[in-house]
């Protein structure tokens, strides 16, 4: 079984390393790159805690091989804002709306919402809740999560209209 020469971009930084083909993307992020903000919840592609962006799409990093991301650009929760810098608009909204209880699902929730935000999705609370079909919050703290995402999407809509 031969190793694979993997080249990809993670949070804007080029990454190049030899990996075993069976390595999962979430293992690459957490164990090789020490990006432990991406969580492993169920480890069976159901809970969405490991959600990251590959290109402009939200995917579950526990259900994708690292080699499938070869040549692509991966964004994790660590890539949304600088350590000492201001929070990303979604992070700020989650803080304001108390969109987390234990916080375990939060990185996945935010990365999942990121796809909606980047695609300029306009959605009311019901539609946001439906769009979170791939993310579970075991604290059942959905109200704050949905409110934070709905508000961020609406604000982005307003901004893009203002910019035209």
């Amino acid at each position: 079984m031969s190793s694979y020469d993997l080249q990809l971009t993670v949070n804007g930084q080029p990454v190049s390393l030899l990996v075993e083909p069976q390595l999962l993307l979430v293992q690459l992020l957490r164990e090789h790159l020490a990006l432990t903000g991406t969580h492993v919840g169920c480890d069976t592609a159901q809970c969405g805690a490991c959600t990251v962006l590959v290109g402009d799409r939200a995917i579950k990093a526990c259900n994708m091989l690292a080699v499938q991301a070869d040549g692509l650009s991966v964004t994790t929760i660590e890539g949304l804002s600088a350590k000492a810098g201001p929070l990303h608009s979604l992070q700020a909204a989650f803080k304001q709306h108390h969109g987390l209880q234990c916080g375990f699902c939060t990185p996945g929730m935010i990365m999942s919402a990121c796809e909606l935000l980047q695609n300029g999705v306009a959605a009311d609370e019901r539609e946001v809740a439906a769009a979170l079909d791939g993310n579970l919050c075991r604290c059942t703290g959905y109200r704050g999560i949905v409110a934070a995402i709905t508000e961020t999407l609406a604000a982005a809509q307003q901004d893009s209209r203002g910019a035209v």
Partner: protein
Amino acid sequence: VAPFNYHRPGSVAEAVALLSARSEGKLLAGGQSLLPTLRLRLAAPTDLIDLGHIAELRGIRATADEISIGAMTRHNDVAASREIAQAIPALARLAGHIGDRQIRNLGTLGGSLANNDPAACYPAAALGLAATIRTSRRSVAAHEFLRGMYETCLDPDEIVTSVSFKIPSKAAYLKFMHPASRFALVGVFVAERAGEVRVAVTGAGLRGAFRSQALESALQHSFSVESIDAVAPDAEELSSDLHASADYRAHLIKVMARRAVAQMTAAD
């Protein structure tokens, strides 16, 4: 996951060559069913052949009477396609409710059909819309392609390349979703095309998705919600497991069929 060799062909011909040279090789499409299978070690292929970089397997083409979709087209791309939403809105809707958003960003049409999960949505659409499955060596009608539970007519070195769905005059797909897996506990696809009614059922059959002759002839006779009342699906041919009994599945088939027909007749 047990170790395997990883291959990345750039064409269908190259993928076929790789596959035929390896007796324990497997194709990787979106991986959304395969990866959980590998992780449970229900399968341990020596070689994985990634179809993700073959341009000829992607894309959506519409003609006057059918929509042809490349095997590696992701569920979310089918759901978002303007051409499909116009020609077969029921198919776009079906694709948009498979699994969840993250799964739909990776999962593919060809992968779903080749896996032929007995509770998957696409097999119902393939039967309901008289689909033709194109492979690396032939064209096969959906009912010949789908052989049974997780079984197709594909040879060990054959690859699904595209699927053509006939455009119906109207169609609807109603799914009673398992709340955790989001697979169909029962899904019913009803389509009418050139005076012919097709009713395909997924999630319920002992041998995977099937067409219900009883519902088809009742609806052929009179296309109305009421004509479903007299039909009694045979529970003996339906699966029974911890999620639902065969009798309950028989009941759900009628409920989903009624809702599908109601949706189609309301649009008139």
